[in-house]
């Protein structure tokens, strides 16, 4: 089945859900799972396709969220315009950080640590500035309307996030069959070999970081309209960075649908955990930690990889499911 058809089918199957799901809770749950699928797709493009493992993706999420929140509060900017500017601001942060990091040839764990450090530095800065509301955070005024991206009905957010997930899927599918994507995967596999046959690894990684940043930043902008509140811990804390990387790792790194599958699996498990283990704060993080260790040890290719292996065992001769 062609990728475009798979994506269309997925979106078409998901779209009527708000009309079917009666409970507010489950609608919110599905919306949140889709939201983390979108954030995970952003990480997947950089790490799954580009091999650059960021441990501080909150840097982009938070920059987008703060950009739109500050523009709305201080300048009265429309949230939809804020959404686009948030993507642009996070892309710019990605390009700036990438320029520094890649210029000095930092790879692998050094890249991961530098992104983590930048996210922390931004958190400290956001904590101490007046314009970001400091540690108290920012309250975005409530103006329910489609025009302000604060949908009166919860289903509005569902459809917005679903559209973004669809966009992320299309972008990733394009990556798999474009020159940029081919170069990005070549850099992931072997940077020197890629350079030897004409790939500008520096520019390729920089573009991937900016693109990934734009997606994460736009996710931040949507988050602000959903919760109408932002503080440095939410924006730049490790929580979002972990959510961003867990979904694709659990679902399948470098696969188009991996982040979606991973986000639903993770949040399903987290929900079951809440029912089974009670509501102790931070418990979901413990669960995530255990899950991450198990995934990396036993299923390094994620749920998609597991599916492929099982299919191959059941149907010898199937090579690429």
């Amino acid at each position: 089945m062609p990728r475009s058809l798979q994506i269309a089918l997925f979106v078409a199957a998901m779209a009527p859900l708000p009309l079917v799901i009666g409970s507010e809770f489950w609608l919110a749950w599905t919306t949140l799972a889709l939201f983390y699928a979108y954030l995970g797709q952003s990480w997947n493009i950089l790490a799954g396709y580009g091999g650059q493992f960021s441990f501080g993706h909150a840097l982009f999420f938070g920059s987008g969220a703060y950009a739109t929140a500050m523009l709305q509060i201080h300048l009265g900017l429309n949230a939809w315009a804020g959404f686009l500017l948030a993507a642009a601001a996070a892309a710019a942060v990605g390009a700036a950080v990438g320029y520094l990091v890649f210029r000095y040839g930092l790879r692998g764990s050094y890249f991961a640590l530098v992104t983590l450090a930048f996210a922390e530095a931004f958190r400290v800065v956001a904590n101490s500035l007046g314009i970001t509301g400091g540690g108290v955070g920012l309250l975005v005024p409530l103006k329910p309307s489609v025009a302000t991206m604060q949908f009166p009905e919860k289903s509005g957010f569902f459809w917005l996030v679903l559209a973004l997930v669809g966009l992320g899927l299309i972008l990733t599918a394009w990556l798999e069959r474009s020159r940029f994507g081919a170069r990005l995967m070549a850099v992931r596999e072997n940077e020197d070999a890629a350079r030897a046959i004409g790939v500008d690894a520096f520019r390729t990684k920089l573009a991937a970081l900016a693109l990934s940043g734009a997606l994460a930043g736009s996710a931040g902008a949507v988050y602000v309209q959903m919760y109408l509140y932002l503080d440095p811990g939410i924006a730049y804390g490790p929580g979002m960075s972990i959510e961003a990387l867990l979904a694709p790792i659990v679902g399948g790194l470098g696969t188009i649908f991996g982040p979606v599958l991973g986000a639903f699996a993770l949040h399903g498990i987290a929900e079951i955990g809440k029912v089974g283990l009670g509501q102790a704060p931070g418990l979901n993080l413990v669960l995530y930690g255990v899950l991450l260790v198990l995934m990396v040890m036993f299923m390094p290719n994620g749920l998609f990889g597991l599916g492929r292996v099982t299919l191959r065992r059941l149907l010898p001769g199937v090579r690429n499911a």
């Binding site: 020159r179 081919a182 070549a186 596999e189 350079r195 030897a196 046959i197 004409g198 500008d200």
Partner: protein, 248 residues
């Protein structure tokens, strides 16, 4: 076409290449030989922009290559292969070759079609849907060649594409390299397989301890006393002569 002029590179106290000068004419196949550690691969790394020379000049079609990044040098038409093969292991053979093909082809379709054509040229046609990681060593050597060829180079630097191959595999790849030259690509190869060097090259340079010690036709090189000494040790060149006298 390629002019290397007095290129010197030191790593600490070791002189990897010592004022090496050579000049490769367009349309030729030439070889760079020498014992292990002679500086052959370091010279390739300097031509292709991976290592910066301490002194000297490298020109390709009159333009200096010094200070240019590997990808820029590749775009000018000089491409290298790696002695230790560097496939993109997680990609298929076709996708591997397409990365090179994309240098001058933006569209995916064109790059894949070109990759198929190059795969045929090097004899990887039947294996193009395989993962690169699943190839045998002979297959990986061909892939290394194919990735480089797909960039439409004017000059290709082949670093031991025959090392690790068995004699029949070597016999198979010699005509492939000859066909590369026939298609208008100049070839400079590093090789230890003397049968291939003798068979293919019009001109041979011999490096030893970083310095050029001889150059000429393959036949002249094989008879050169300095070359025999470099390979077999001091005094080796006079030994056959002495042995011949003793028998007489």
């Amino acid at each position: 076409m390629l002019d290397v002029i007095g290129v010197t590179k030191r790593f600490g106290g070791v002189v990897a290449t010592d004022a090496v000068s050579l000049s490769v004419p367009a349309g030729s196949i030439s070889a760079l030989i020498g014992p292990n550690g002679a500086g052959k691969t370091t010279l390739f790394a300097q031509i292709s922009g991976f290592v910066k020379p301490d002194a000297g000049e490298i020109r390709f079609e009159g333009a200096s290559l010094l200070g240019r990044a590997p990808e820029e040098i590749c775009a000018l038409g000089v491409v290298r292969t790696f002695q230790i093969v560097q496939p993109f292991a997680g990609l298929t053979v076709r996708e591997n070759i397409a990365v090179g093909a994309h240098l001058h082809r933006r569209r995916r379709r064109e790059a894949l079609d070109h990759a198929d054509a190059v795969a045929e040229r090097v004899g990887l046609g039947p294996q193009r849907d395989k993962q690169a990681a699943a190839l045998t060593i002979a297959g990986r050597k061909r892939l290394e060649l194919a990735k480089a060829l797909a960039t439409d180079p004017k000059l290709i630097l082949l670093d031991e594409v025959m090392a690790g191959l068995n004699p029949s595999e070597i016999d198979e790849i010699i005509p492939v390299i000859r066909a590369v030259r026939q298609s208008g690509v100049t070839v400079l190869l590093i090789e230890h397989v003397m049968r291939a060097v003798m068979n293919l090259s019009e001109r041979v340079w011999v490096l030893n301890d970083g310095a050029l010690i001889a150059d000429g036709t393959p036949a002249a090189i094989a008879a050169d006393a300095r070359v025999i000494e470099a390979y077999l040790g001091h005094g080796a060149a006079s030994a056959p002569a002495a042995a011949a006298t003793a028998h007489a």
